[in-house]
Amino acid sequence: MRVNLAVKIGKLKLKNPVMVASGTFGYAEEFKGFINLKKLGAIVTKTITLNPRRGNPPARTCETPSGMLNSIGLENPGLEAFLKDKLPFLEKLGIPIIMSIASEDDSREFIELAKRLNKLKAVSALELNISCPNVMGQESLISQDCQATYSIVKSIRRITAKTLITKLSPNVTCISDLAKAAEDAGSDCLALINTLSGMSINTERQSPRLAAVVGGLSGPAIRPVALKMVWEAYNKIKIPIIGMGGIIDTPSALEFFIAGASAISIGTANFINPRVSVEIISGLGKYLKRKKIKDIHSLTGSLIYES
């Protein structure tokens, strides 16, 4: 039996629904020795800002039960250096490249970024990172406010025809309200979830394990939270969802489809097993065959339960 793993997200056609999450795959070159990058459904770049960012001081990572905290602080070379040094390698892969972008303190930067990227064929879609918890001094996230989310997505929608993905934060009271705001503003797709904010303490030193004190939690520890948010958003909106948060193997990837995701993204698991993404692509195919499901589409939101 032939099974179909191809999915469509906005205008974007992916040959399979497995991508790698922003910030966990560098600019892909780091992984070329481990996997055939061309096999991936898509690659999401580390978030890029208009100007270079130094990020936060070390220590920037620490292990926590079944997960890790990070406070990288959006270190990136800035748009110009990205286009010159990183994009050419990505472009040659011939698979969709989703560029994650963020603004620092002024949301006009988002518009500027979107305008500049509009013309580039090598960029297949834009992912708006309005949910990074790691920018010091920032009091709240755009994606913690429905109105702010609506207005930023709307203003970028106006100026770009590219597929627009809005990445939301789990650090909110009601995820489906924010999902709806992004949908209403014209987002083609949602990416759920970014990291949960958290901290960890060294008790001997009575000091935080991260220099920035707080950071973003990722890995299997957050999977139940992520799944529930995907499921809630799925029940409220019509646009497709890219599910992520603690996926480490085929069963954990399948959970997200069943909860309502149309595609999935692999984050922290890339650090532990750099080959995990391609292993999951083949695992999904095998599962569909075994369950006699022709198309991965039919798995999305296929949760069976009595309510």
């Binding site: 580390k46 990020g55 220590a59 920037r60 039960p65 922290t268 750099p274």
Partner: protein, 257 residues
């Protein structure tokens, strides 16, 4: 860079809290250079979750050695591995020591505690007949690899913080004494160091004050070990650099402490 499952041929207590593991890994051995490291997946499960970085301690006949201190959950689980078990290894990672320039020069290696780990492999590869290793430890029972360094053709000097063996005091004070008495050889002297952060900082200060070339191997907490997460950066004069990619070995003169 390889990702392999290597069979453990021996994993034994070496001294105190220090353990010694040997794996069968011919392909890794062929690719490895002194100062590079491995990122080790200790458990197939979630505990510990991330990989753990360890220096390549030694290679011989297709076998690779890791020398490690049991300090926490991950290294404790490592010490529970038996010969015949497999270890999932990624490596060799990082760029290692630059030792071509050491040929024919006076070479001083400075190790603090478990910092001996990458220096044994280095001392075997360095083509100089004039090698001295300073092994620093808190106390005499914690002096590591004295015999191994002697066998590799190095002179050995020992320092202990409590004075129970060798020079009494810090290994960096021993280094200062040696530099002061060997003034003549200065121009041709090369330093290589690995150990705790404060010790490495002091080695860098000494090197700069005496106008000597020094390379130090740093540790930083790692997410990925392969340059993808930007979790392991240190400050240098040329901006932030990743310990796992541009390091773990840096020149004294490029670091900002």
């Amino acid at each position: 860079m390889l990702q392999i499952k290597a069979k453990i041929t021996s994993n034994k207590k070496f001294k105190g809290s220090c353990w010694h593991c040997i794996v069968n890994a011919p392909s890794l051995c062929r690719a490895s250079k002194p100062g590079q490291f491995l990122n080790v997946r200790i458990s197939e499960g979630l505990k510990p979750f991330l990989r753990r970085p360890f220096s390549i301690h030694n290679i011989f006949g297709g076998k690779l050695e890791i020398l490690y201190n049991v300090v926490g959950e991950g290294t404790r689980a490592f010490s529970g591995k038996k010969s015949g078990d497999y270890l999932d290894l990624i490596g060799p990672l990082g760029k290692g020591f630059d030792y071509v320039g050491a040929r024919g020069k006076r070479v001083i290696l400075i190790a603090g505690g478990i910092g001996v780990a990458p220096l044994l492999f280095l001392s075997k590869e360095i083509k100089s007949r004039d090698k001295l290793i300073l092994i620093g430890a808190r106390t005499r029972d914690q002096v590591l690899c004295e015999k191994e360094f002697r066998n590799s053709g190095s002179d050995v000097k020992i320092s202990t913080d409590d004075g129970s063996r060798g020079f009494s005091g810090r290994v960096t004070d021993l280094l200062k004494n040696i530099i002061a008495t060997e003034k003549a050889a200065k121009g041709a002297m090369q330093l290589y160091a690995c150990g705790p952060g404060p010790m490495l900082k002091e080695v860098c200060n000494i090197a700069i004050a005496n106008n000597l070339q020094a390379q130090v191997s740093l540790e930083e907490h790692m997410g990925c070990g392969i340059g993808a997460c930007l979790g392991c950066v240190v400050k240098t004069k040329n901006g932030l650099k990743r310990v796992c990619k541009e390091g773990p070995v840096f020149y004294a003169k490029e670091l900002i402490w």
